[in-house]
Subunit: 285 residues, 2 copies
């Protein structure tokens, strides 16, 4: 299957990410339909031209039209949806997703899925600290990273299609990782950072601090505004990897603590030079 | 003394912050002269109209012209400079600064200073992760916080002058804090955040992570690109307060760790809702 303009794309879950995919794909000329739980999201998306057609119902004919289905749901909702509705897909349909953890879903879905439908997992490393289709914005993909997470069950054609989907949406780097590599990477780069932001925001309740702060505290806590339902599920779905990364960070933080306590200025400066040098690699542009 | 346009302002230390002050004050119509250690900074600032006149020498006549002197130096350089050159100030000159820690300098300088010259401490909560007058930018002050840190030795007139300096430069909130309050606040809002960013950046050296990351890791490590000479001095100048804030953060991080380890989803969600609610106060606009 090629990403040609007459392709029929179904988005399941029209939130921030589902809506951003819909906007980007609609602009590129694809037919974009959506199924989502909330009728307000459908109304908003239809009125704003984000989708061609949307519904809150399971409409078998709509599902059967899809060449490509993109799932932007919580992990357990995604697996339940596939279990209940996969019979409606047409033969050859390709399924992909945006789920932030892969170990808990990729095999489960690939194992239950009909042999004539293929699931190729993906994770767009883009988001905002607000939710809902009203906040969707396809410019969040520009310059961002896109991870494709295949298993040995995937065909080269589906992997290539998924890579191309990332490219046409404007992602800068499209990388391929195994499920285990992905979950370890995400535990460090995404989940640990959210744990740090939440802990930092919770640990001090002195009134009035917002009148004294600079941008560093704002930057470190931007993601402390967090969807607790989704992130608690993601954390527990990747618990062992996340705890290992939390231990890794604690080791480094304790090391810096000891250097400060001991007045080891050379040791502190060595860590700061290390962090300065490494950070140079991470600039977006 | 009022902040009227014929005021003669001397900037000592023409780096990122000194240069940003110079730009802002020059645009407002003041006469702005500068003394700094590096002749390249003088040349750059003169060629770009950032200052009226600059020099790398201690020029007694230049110092004697200043109605207001703004020091943007490392703490120990600032105190040495005052000890060696305070005899050149004219009677009634007001001195202020931008130093990030106050306990180690405010009393020291007020105690050594001539009785006819007044030092009123200030801390602009603005900066960039790059240094030098070439990167100076007075727009960093817009919407930011400005802290005035008086002692009982300060006059109401000097405190008011310093508050007005913050206001005319575009700071959004001008707050007054005691030395102890300032250093405790800064240990949490600024120094702890830099410790976290450095620790996070140092704790994992897996190659290629920049191709997989999202914005959350970028945000949490922006300030990991750090001036090691300056920040190691600032950390050690405020060691006890900083260690106390590091302990506070560790307590909260360990609490979240235990909740994840025990699968306590309700407890995790409670912390996330707390962080989400509190973060709402910190938006810049």
């Amino acid at each position: 299957m090629k990403l040609i303009k007459n392709l029929n794309i179904l988005i399941v879950g029209l939130g921030l990410l589902g809506g951003s995919y819909a906007k980007g794909l609609k602009k590129l000329g694809f037919t974009v339909n959506a199924i989502t739980k909330d009728s307000h999201s459908v109304d908003y998306a239809m009125e704003n031209g984000i989708i061609d057609y949307g519904t809150t119902e399971i409409e078998p004919e709509l599902i059967a039209q899809a060449d490509l289905a993109i799932f932007a749901l919580y992990p357990h909702v995604f697996t339940d949806w596939i279990a209940q509705n996969q019979q409606y897909f047409k033969e050859g349909c390709i399924i992909t997703d945006v789920t932030g953890v892969k170990g808990c879903i990729v095999r489960k879905i690939q194992d239950m899925l009909r042999p004539d439908v293929e699931f190729i997992a993906a994770h767009p490393m883009a988001g905002r600290e607000v939710s809902g289709v009203e906040n969707s914005d396809d410019s969040i993909f520009i310059g961002a990273n896109y991870l494709v997470v295949p298993t040995e069950k995937n065909t080269p054609e589906a992997i290539e299609l998924c890579e191309n989907l990332g490219k046409i949406l404007g992602f800068k780097n499209v990388a391929v990782l195994s499920v285990a590599e992905h979950d370890e990477m995400i535990a460090f780069l995404s989940q640990l950072t959210h744990c740090i932001a939440v802990s930092l925001m919770c640990c001090n309740n002195t009134p009035g601090m917002e009148r004294y702060t600079g941008d560093s505290f704002r930057d470190l806590t931007r993601i402390a505004r967090i969807n607790d339902e989704m992130w608690s599920e993601l954390f527990l779905s990747n618990k062992q990897a996340l705890l290992a990364e939390m231990d890794r960070f604690k080791g480094s933080f304790d090391e810096l603590y000891e250097k400060i306590k001991n007045g080891d200025r050379d040791g502190m400066r060595e860590m700061m030079r290390c962090s300065t040098e490494r950070r140079g690699l991470f600039d977006k542009i």
